[in-house]
Amino acid sequence: MTSSNTVRMTKDEGEGENGNDDRLGAGGEDTYTPSARRIARERYKRARARRATAVAALSTLVTGVVLFLVITGSPGWQRTRETFFSAEYARMALPKVLDGLLLNLRLLAICGVCVLLLGLLLAVARTLRGPVFFPVRALATAYTDFFRGLPLIICLLMVVFGVPALRLEGVTTDPVLLGGTALVLTYSAYVAEVFRAGIESVHPSQRAAARSLGLSSAKTLRYVVLPQAVRRVVPPLLNDLVSLQKDTGLVSIAGAVDAVYAAQIIAGKYFNYTPYVVAGLVFVALTIPMTRFTDWVTARMDRRRAQGGTV
């Protein structure tokens, strides 16, 4: 347990108690003083929290020292440090990698929008009822089954090298466009399943209420089901977007000069892997804010749903 957790926990407890006091106080006079029992209880909790923090700090320190000793003490450490952690190559690679990263960000933005739209469309298609929609439903199901199972790297290779091989008139051979298409194909299948789970989580009574008001099934979907479904799946969707963000690095296999490919060029030229480490760290740095944002949104929604309860 970290010290910030400790502080928050004690504060929450305090707020809970205060809430009760207010309610009592509203009826009569507000002359509450903490009893000896409460003071003793809180003293014990503080001591316990301090102990937990101390244990956590100590174990972190021990783990760090052990890791450091094992790695730096290994027989190949000298060579490894020069090949993977060279400050000189890192300085050389960073600007190129950041240039390439712009492409990754553009891909993320454009593919992200396409993935969300296509995923939503597929999910809605899969929930359509009635025999008329059988072909639509079957196609959407086949699509999600196929692209969810197909490894992304194979999808990329097929699209990026297969489509140009067809030599079709007017079809692009641009590796960025083709790579982006492959990402959209795979990710929209994942996202469609997330949306579908959301749609199915809306209770049937909501649909019944909407239909009983005379709303058609399309309007029920539009005004009642989808708004609730989308809200519920925001955390898993953001999670998929984080994943998409790093997988944009895979378009490098098609020869698009993104952050990974920029690193590869330098690495290949000097036989030094430091640029890969730089590119990797840049991606991590990019996903961390997104992951934290996801955590924050999830926590906020959980808080809103759960009424009280400390466990």
Binding site: S205, Q206, A208, A209, L213, L215, S216, Q228
Partner: protein, 268 residues
């Protein structure tokens, strides 16, 4: 409740040819779930304009199913249901148009949690009837005011008490000016102290001439407010008559036993 509700109802009646015909008519309705769960065996029922019909009977006797069938939320297996003399169970009938003329209030309110009370109420008038936002909101606020929810228009449903939510659900059902209101055990999920505020709304609606069918376990209320009481048992209307007849002098042994159990449970 409302002078203008009554007026619309009367207008509708004139358009469909007379005040004398029943608003809702069930003819030998049969409904099964799966192969062998017969919920409604052979149910016939007339609901006259501006009257209140109470459906009573044990849990699982088919009260809710009957209401769901009348609103076409369930498809019946046999028989026919008529609204103002027009067969709504005809496969060629447009279910959305039928449901527009029937308001439903559910036991669990079923308000839309992502919308404010006002948005819940104006959804159908705006998106189904095509009423302008201003007009829909003005009417919604007027109805909310009458049901004592004037200050709750901007609240989300989960900020309201059960009784307030159920009253908001009633307003939502009334907002499309239905010809008929179906109330499905609307007090069953409420604390006893909140039951009263919802029932008094129903009382007001009756005074204003709204035609209603209600499934209920509140026998005292059924006795007070209903013009007609139907005792459902084993998929048929076993006994039907005025409250005095059904509660005061039941003809069937099953009805007598049911009412005795109710009295023992302190519910009558």
């Amino acid at each position: 409740m409302t002078a203008d509700d009554t007026r619309t109802a009367a207008d509708d009646t004139r358009a469909t040819g007379g005040d004398d015909g029943p608003v809702l008519r069930l003819e030998s309705v049969r409904k099964t779930f799966g192969r062998d769960r017969v919920v409604l065996r052979d149910v016939s029922l007339d609901v006259a304009p501006h009257t209140v019909t109470a459906l009573i009977g044990a849990s699982g006797s088919g009260k809710s199913t009957l209401l769901r069938c009348a609103n076409l939320l369930e498809e019946i297996d046999d028989g026919a249901i008529f609204l103002d003399g027009e067969e709504i169970t005809d496969p060629r009938a447009d279910p959305d148009a039928v449901r527009r003329r029937i308001g439903v209030v559910f036991q669990s309110y079923n308000l839309f949690p992502h919308m404010t009370v006002l948005q819940n109420i104006t959804l159908a008038p705006r998106r189904v009837l095509g009423v302008s936002r201003e007009e829909a909101e003005a009417r919604a606020r007027e109805l909310l005011g009458r049901l004592g929810l004037g200050d709750k228009a901007g609240e989300y449903p989960d900020r309201l008490s059960g009784g307030q939510q159920q009253r908001a659900a009633i307003v939502r059902a009334l907002a499309v000016r239905p010809r008929l209101l179906l109330l499905d055990e609307i007090t069953a999920a409420l604390d006893p102290e909140l039951v009263g505020e919802v029932l008094s709304v129903v009382r007001d609606l009756k005074a204003d001439g709204m035609t209603m069918v209600l499934a209920t376990h509140e026998m005292g209320f059924a006795r007070e407010v209903a013009d007609q009481v139907c005792f459902l048992d084993n998929g048929v209307v076993l006994e039907r008559g005025t409250p005095q007849e059904v509660f005061g002098n039941p003809r069937q042994e099953r009805t007598r036993r049911f009412l005795r159990r109710i009295v023992e449970a302190g519910r009558l």
